[in-house]
Subunit: 237 residues, 2 copies
């Protein structure tokens, strides 16, 4: 019985943009596992109520259901050990730093950069939920959360400094081969790539070359990801 | 034959302040190894010419001499495996991210904050070398590198966000026990603690509590580190 993954979709059902779901899709390919996907939207809470979670990724493995990308990665390493995603206790402890760095540093910068594009690519039924949840999180109207790329894109690229330093000295954050640390940072970039035409990385940047390597990994799996088109009704923006 | 460590000293020979040497002293305690220390100043290049390095730490183990804290940590894990510092290939790859994050993010912020205090605590023979090398690195006079704590201390504390997030969910960056990742970030804080009266961390901060735990590790080894007093001649500042 293949695994089942509930995966966040945009207006276009084929366009899958959650940075957390991307971590898990890359992790499943890393393990050589097959899975079936169920497209899911932010407001489809009922569809995953069985898991106890209100957000995706939700992974179903036989009689088990798992949520939260970190929990799922640990589960995969425990039940499908090779090749390792986290590298044992110290590898996992150190990867937690990279995860929390990515979530505290990169995610807010990316969200601010792609927000108008992202909002224009959500399924209509998700618009109210997205607006109210993000306005509550940031404490201001959606229109004031978005940042101006001319100033915030250089800040985002500067924030990638530690990734840049690592991938100048080794191919991946995981060393010679990708690890879950790579998929964490890559997932954030895939989020932007699927939902915005804004190019976050400069062509000559070592981080750009590293992302290209990851797009090519697992038989070019992530490179084939459908890009989301904006909804036709511009008034809905 | 005990190990020998060349260790950077201030005006006061007992005051040892290099963040890179602190990594190694904590690593040696972590391994339960004994060592003899040779106090060293920036301008004592001849004393370590045998190692091929112009900077410390330099560690001598029998007929081998090693330099560069990262190389030394890997050597220690290879030759004295337990308890591990880096945790194998993935643990090491992920620790490299934490190292490069610390060096690119924390080190410049700390140097700017403690610079006048640090300069006032260097051995007189090191002053010219320190000034010219740091002015070359930053491209401006020493007096313009220093930052105003009222604005840059909050920025420094904000930059610690990923450390704070990790140590809220587990005792150390290495998990239940410290790893070399802890010693990397701790070394940067020890650098400031030995050479400046400025308190970088707020008492209620989870990072403060984490540093306290590390000060207490290995029988309170780092807590006993002598603090450097400023040189008596204020004109030399």
């Amino acid at each position: 019985m293949p695994l089942v993954l509930y995966d966040l979709a945009g207006a276009d059902e084929e366009a899958r943009f959650s940075p957390y779901c991307w971590r898990i899709k890359m992790a499943l390919r890393h393990k050589g596992l097959a899975w079936r996907e169920v497209p899911w939207r932010f407001t489809d809470k009922d569809a995953i109520v069985f898991s106890g979670s209100k957000t995706v990724p939700v992974l179903v493995d036989g009689t088990r259901s798992l949520s939260d990308s970190w929990t799922i990665a640990r589960y995969l390493d425990e039940h499908y050990p090779e090749p390792s995603l986290l590298g044992g206790p110290l590898g996992e402890a150190h990867a937690l730093f990279i995860r929390l760095w990515s979530e505290s540093t990169l995610h807010p910068l990316i969200l601010r950069l792609i927000l108008p594009d992202l909002y224009a690519r959500l399924h209509p039924k998700d618009l109210d939920y997205f607006r109210s949840s993000r306005e509550a999180r940031f404490g201001k109207p959606l229109e004031q959360i978005a940042s101006e790329p001319s100033t915030s894109l250089p800040a985002f690229r500067a924030a990638l400094a530690p990734v840049r330093s690592v991938v100048r000295s080794q191919p991946y954050l995981g060393g010679a081969r990708p690890s879950f640390a790579d998929y964490i940072v890559f997932g954030a970039l895939q989020w932007a790539r699927v939902m915005s035409p804004l190019e976050l990385l400069e062509p000559g940047d070592a981080v750009h070359a590293w992302r290209d390597r990851l797009l090519g990994e697992h038989d070019g799996y992530a490179a084939r990801a459908p890009i989301c088109q904006p909804r036709l009704d511009p008034s809905a923006r």
